[in-house]
Amino acid sequence: MFSVGVLVLLALGLTYARTATSFRGGLFACREAPPTCDGARQVLPLYRVDGVAEDGFTVSKVARNVRVVADPAGLEVGDTVSVSGTFRAADGAVVATSVQTHGLRRHKKALGLLALVLALAWAPRCFAWRGGHLVLRG
């Protein structure tokens, strides 16, 4: 039954991935067929800044090298930003209507990593494998 659960999770994951990469008006579909998406609203949450130019910047996460037309003042490579804007079919850029910089993102990742390491270090004190089953200690 455990392996059935893993297979169900895999099927759900593949369904989600197919939907996320193909839904109409989404960034992936728009980049595949730009003329069908001119002016479509786009949101790029928590993307990493890869490059900064005079008239904008490029970001990557799941979608890579997305050009954003916006005022790049104050941005540096490696910053994390969330961008709202519209897709421009002529050059495949996202014309930003708002850019939010996430200055504390690195701290959040560091805290998350610390919590994960502590949890993994603590786990053997709480769980054990006995008689073919996982059991709680104590």
Binding site: L12, H107, L111
Partner: protein, 149 residues
């Protein structure tokens, strides 16, 4: 831990594991893939998306059910409830965050509309987490010192 301190201390490790698993299974792998694949020009998008359902209610249900099967039969209901409770707490707090409208598809795969309440910023937890950690440690220490030797 603070929640369990309020409602009873049984099965805290399972509840805490449940509260961590959504990020451990749905966020860490894509981040790792992204980092590893960056020098190669990046991984295909589906590699990042395939983990996401484990951060959504349907995936949490399947995951809790699958993991509880690893425990002895008499404990499975309690383990299932605690795992799911921890995951629900995690998702509930995440729903309060603002991601510019890109929230969580709570009814996936039946309905794809994302939901979020946007009450506080996605990094505001950085300011609150250390305080909560100290309070949780305090609650744990108090219980430990009161427990019979």
């Amino acid at each position: 831990m603070l929640l369990k301190a309020g409602i009873g201390w049984r099965d805290v490790p399972v509840f805490v594991a449940g509260s961590l698993l959504p990020d451990v299974l749905a966020r860490v792998p894509p981040l790792a893939v992204e980092l590893l694949a960056r020098p190669l020009g990046g991984a295909p998008p589906w590699v990042s998306y395939v983990w996401v359902p484990m951060h959504l209610p349907v995936g949490m249900l399947v995951l809790s059910f699958s993991l509880c099967l690893l425990f002895p039969a008499p404990r499975r209901r309690v383990v299932f409830a605690n795992l799911l409770g921890g995951m629900a707490l995690h998702l509930g707090l995440d729903l309060l965050q603002d991601h510019q409208g890109v929230g969580y598809q709570l009814l996936f795969p039946l309905w794809g509309r994302p939901v979020e309440l946007g009450i506080f910023g996605s990094e505001d937890s950085v300011l609150v987490a250390p305080v909560l950690a100290v309070l949780a440690l305090g609650a744990w220490w108090r219980r430990r010192s009161r427990a019979p030797a």
